[in-house]
Amino acid sequence: MREALLIARREYLERIRSKAFRVSTVLIPFVFGLIFGIGAFSTKLTGGAKHIVVASNDPVLAESERAELTALRGDESRRDRSSQLRMEARAPITEGELAALNTAVESKKIDGYLWLDVKPGTTQPEATYVSSGSDFFGKDRMQYSIGHALVREELVKRGATSEGVESLLKDIEMKTLRVKNGRAVAADASKSFWGAYVMTFMLYFAVVFYGVNVAHSVVSEKTSRVFEVLLASAKPESLMLGKLLGVGAVGLTQMAVWIGFVLLLSASSLWMTLGLGGLAAYGVTPLQLIFFVLYFLLGFFFYSALSAGLGATVSQESEVQQFTMIIVLPQVIGLMMIVYILGNPGAWPVVLLSLFPPCTPIVMSLRMAAMAVPAWQLALSLVLMVLSIYGMVWVASRVYRVGILMYGKRPTLPEILRWVKYS
């Protein structure tokens, strides 16, 4: 154990002291910030004030439709953008004015117009939307709003009060509930699997950025031939374990720096102005949080150990890249099955998948969000993960040790199996 700790310490200190570590600690959040910034900026650009004209030969219908579109009823995602919308009703309208609207669209004076042609003797108008390119509302929403406008007009004609019309046409609020421990509790469907998404993202990120470092570190020891010196003084298992802990700790340190920064930010008033709530707002229990951290750590070390094992089989840094795919694949599987898992969190294929170590962190987080997972399954999944990490380290150290005799060519799978058996 002393050997493993020495190796872990060397690995940790050498990396923490390196310029690459300092640069990436600052640069990665900066790059992420930049990406989000560009994203936000581009939404602003496309969402820049739209000028849309509602034209009709029926002034009441035109005004009613204008009001409908301005309210953007039933479309939460766009409601906050209604301020960027300039709606104008023009009715009644002459042929000449209508032709002028086309020119206006072409010269970008307006972004588009909706032409509602009410033929005498019919109730349904003929609707045409003309725009310079993208349509802001979507066809469905526009048809829906025209329907609403017609109903509103008809109701008013039949003598309904404007309050009565409003209350009739108001969107209906709907609650979603979830059965947990035999009781229906409030659950917001869009928030219930936040944990799985965050877990997937963090794990993916951590594995791609740091897990693969273990492989690089293993390979560089092979190419620099340090490993023969090390093997003559330390057990290969200690070497691998030390590497795993050392390189892993570097990743965790960097993430801790970032999380610490986010927490500082969240304590500040800036967080509130950004409109992000605390964890409780997402319906997270402390137990879920504890398991989240546990699964993250175990998942991280599992994938790092896998990466160490793969690193031990190659003799050149450039070959490591080809393995990244193998490492990321099980996580993608979990993500792809997200709908099925949330719908059937207790089905046996899902239970099995959640106990399969490479998939455990993501699938188990999903299940925990969707149901109360039996304690024995949680315990079993933890045990299996710890065992599989140990197993990976063992195999990796075997392969690493025998790899000393290998030069150049990549070993085949049967050869690797023979290496594992070889003492």
Binding site: E14, V226, F227, V229, A232, S233
Partner: protein
């Protein structure tokens, strides 16, 4: 006293090739042992079994009188054939790490590393990154790594390969000092002249088998002195003497190989009657010649 290293009928084969076959070896304390042989003879394979990097297919390896255990490696210093150092690490950090890995405390490791750097003239580079140093310098660092924990048994695979003559001599002298201090040293080399100069005892391996082993003096005395070198002036008629098997003549200088049991003294008497003799030397056979005689072919070093 039990030998520090004992290999007993050790064999090792890889895939198709037999690397070591039925090798027996003993190394005593306070001696310098040379493991000799051409490239690919099985030297590195034998050494790797001594330090437990590979395990023999058959036969036993004992260190310090006991069957091999990892624990006994604490008393062994191993210099692999392919040198390995952390390229990005500072020299002193590297020495400290390796020392600690061998069980030293940080303080002891630091003190000894300092002493060794001073002794091998690399103290000025102690704070540099390893990759910035020349190959010879790196080799010295590797040398220190091997010796830092004051091992009783020092095993070095081709320790002088790639060194300039000045540094090779420096390291050779260091090894001789360590031997005087009672350590056992085993090193492999394909250079017979080096082994001849340094070793008390050798084992010559050829194609995985030991073809010649024992104390250097005994090996040499077992082989006849059958080479004669003569510097002379005058008539070279003595070259037709019956004791001579063959000769190579240069102006005023001749190198002679005698027939088996050829009488060198009789040759000397004949020669002095013909010419003025400045030098008459009955040369001891070199290790290389013994090897060629034993194996019957040339070493392709």
């Amino acid at each position: 006293m039990a030998p520090l290293v004992q290999l007993d009928r050790v064999s090792k084969a890889y895939e198709q090739k037999v690397a070591v076959h039925d090798l027996n070896l003993r190394i005593e304390a306070g001696s310098m042992f040379g493991l000799l042989g051409p490239n690919g003879a099985g030297k590195t394979s034998s050494i790797r079994m001594m330090v437990g990097i590979t395990v023999p297919d058959s036969g036993t390896v004992s260190l310090f009188g006991r069957a091999f255990t990892r624990a006994s490696l604490k008393k062994v210093g191993y210099l692999p054939e392919e040198r390995g150092l952390y390229r990005k690490m500072k020299v002193m950090d590297q020495l400290l790490f390796m020392g600690q890995l061998h069980g030293l405390t940080a303080e002891v490791a630091a003190r000894r590393a300092h002493t060794w750097c001073e002794r091998l003239n690399i103290l000025d580079s102690a704070q540099s990154k390893t990759e910035e140093l020349s190959k010879g310098m790196q080799q010295k660092i590797q040398f220190i790594v091997t010796l830092l924990h004051e091992p009783e048994l020092i095993i070095m695979d081709e320790p002088f390969a790639g060194l300039d003559p000045v540094n090779a001599t420096l390291l050779q002298d260091t090894l001789l000092d360590l031997k005087k201090a009672g350590r056992a040293i085993l090193f492999s080399t394909h250079r017979m002249d080096q082994a001849e100069k340094l070793c008390d005892e050798i084992c010559l391996i050829h194609r995985g088998k030991a073809v010649l082993s024992g104390r250097m003096r005994e090996l040499k005395s077992r082989h006849e002195r059958n080479r004669v070198i003569i510097d002379f002036e005058g008539d070279d008629g003595f070259l037709s003497h019956e004791a001579i098997a063959e000769h190579r003549k240069y102006p005023g200088h001749v190198e002679i190989r005698l027939k088996e049991h050829g009488d060198a003294q009789a040759l000397l008497r004949t020669a002095e009657q013909h010419a003025q003799i400045y030098r008459f030397e009955l040369v001891e056979p070199s290790l290389e010649e013994i090897f060629i005689q034993t194996v019957g072919e040339k070493v392709d070093a």
